[in-house]
């Protein structure tokens, strides 16, 4: 048995701080979605813009700064669904982190 390896293994700790950063990056990627020929990231910023839009349609800039004519309610629904689905998954993984030593 390699005693040094055993000691090193027993001293190793789960990196909670880094795990949170990695999870954040992972879910930032998962929050992206395509709609109406544009690419969007579901999140408070997009949802707020969509909520305050009074009209049925509007021209919004997507992640590539491309203006896209969108159906506000359709995009809002798609963003809301993506947001909830991924935030729930994020929460589940986040809670799993606490179980690790």
């Amino acid at each position: 048995m390699d005693t040094n390896e055993l000691i090193s293994h027993s001293r190793a700790r789960f990196d909670h701080h880094q795990a949170k950063i990695v999870l954040r990056e992972k879910y930032q990627a998962k929050l992206t979605f395509a709609y109406g020929g544009g690419m969007w990231r579901a999140g408070p910023e997009l949802l707020t813009v969509l909520t305050v839009c009074p009209d049925e349609s509007a021209v919004l800039l997507d992640l590539y700064e491309t203006p896209v004519n969108v159906d506000i309610r359709e995009l809002e629904l798609a963003a809301q669904q993506r947001w909830q689905e991924q935030m729930n998954a994020w929460l589940v993984e986040h809670e799993e982190l606490h179980k690790n030593r």
Binding site: R11, Q18, A34
Partner: protein, 268 residues
């Protein structure tokens, strides 16, 4: 529009890239449900390797070598065919993946929904959080922004064709471009060629569209093992020199070929 994944696999003295490609092809089928095509110089592909298409090419003679940190030795690096991806791809919409990119989710499917002719990663980060890795996001004395060739997604289009043609020009005149961009490394890297080519094609505006998330990377200094088919464990020393570990349930670029080779040889 026909879509698929193109892999390049040229074995060297230490690394069985073809075995990695076969393992990757299985992950691609499982998560992305896309056909794979491998470009290789190996004439007899083992029957257990299930690629949808195989393109056999003659290996271009190269004196190019690279130091593989995890093997602690220098090996031949056959990386000059990557810029031929446009001609070699059998598809209209192609995802070119490094065989050391681990597909553990359906994340890459999103790339096919993006209305861009060519996409690659602008930013990569070290999953273990070492800040020094950030320097890899630029290269040369003038800190040219790096575009990573690990993942390239392109549609048959004038722009994609121009980018690949420019990459070939840079590859064939690497000494000149190396001096122009003041790159200290002698070794030709596709990342450099891609970065320069994308910027040239976009009129030197440094405003090239990129993949809208960062490239997660596991460096050769980090110990990598597989826990289950889509979960990996990394062990590393944190910046305050303490041993740490993490579990990964996501796609990532495994930069250490030795660890990945062991996973491929003994998969969960």
């Amino acid at each position: 529009m026909k879509q698929g994944v193109l892999l390049f696999a040229f074995n060297n003295e230490q690394i069985d890239y073809l075995a990695m490609a076969a393992w990757s092809a299985r992950n691609i089928r499982r998560h992305l449900d896309l056909p794979t095509c491998v470009v290789t110089d190996v004439a007899d592909i083992p029957v257990t390797y299930q690629f949808d298409q195989v393109v056999t090419v003659d290996l271009q003679p190269t004196e190019q070598t690279r130091y593989f940190k995890d093997y602690k030795s220098v090996g031949t690096w056959h990386n000059k065919n990557r810029s031929n991806a446009y001609e070699l791809s059998p598809w209209d919409h192609t995802l070119v993946l490094d065989v050391d990119f681990v597909v553990a989710s359906d994340q890459l499917k999103r790339l096919f929904n993006i209305d861009q002719d060519f996409l690659a990663h602008r930013w990569a980060y070290d999953i273990a959080g070492h800040q020094a890795f950030q320097d890899n996001n630029w290269f040369g004395t003038y800190r040219m922004p790096m575009s990573w060739a690990t993942i390239m997604c392109f549609r048959r289009s004038k722009k994609a064709e121009l980018i690949f043609n420019t990459m070939q020009m840079i590859r064939d005149n690497w000494t000149h471009y190396r001096q122009l961009y003041q790159v200290s490394e002698h070794t030709f890297r596709n990342d450099y060629a891609l970065s320069i080519a994308m910027n040239v094609v976009d009129g030197h505006t440094l405003s090239t569209p990129s993949i809208p998330w960062q490239l997660a990377s596991v460096t050769p200094e980090t110990k990598l093992t597989q826990v289950d088919p889509d979960t990996y464990k990394i062990e590393y020393e944190s910046s305050d020199s303490k041993p740490k570990w993490l579990l990964l349930k996501q796609d990532f670029h495994a930069m250490g070929k030795r660890a990945l080779g062991e996973i491929v040889a003994n998969p969960c």
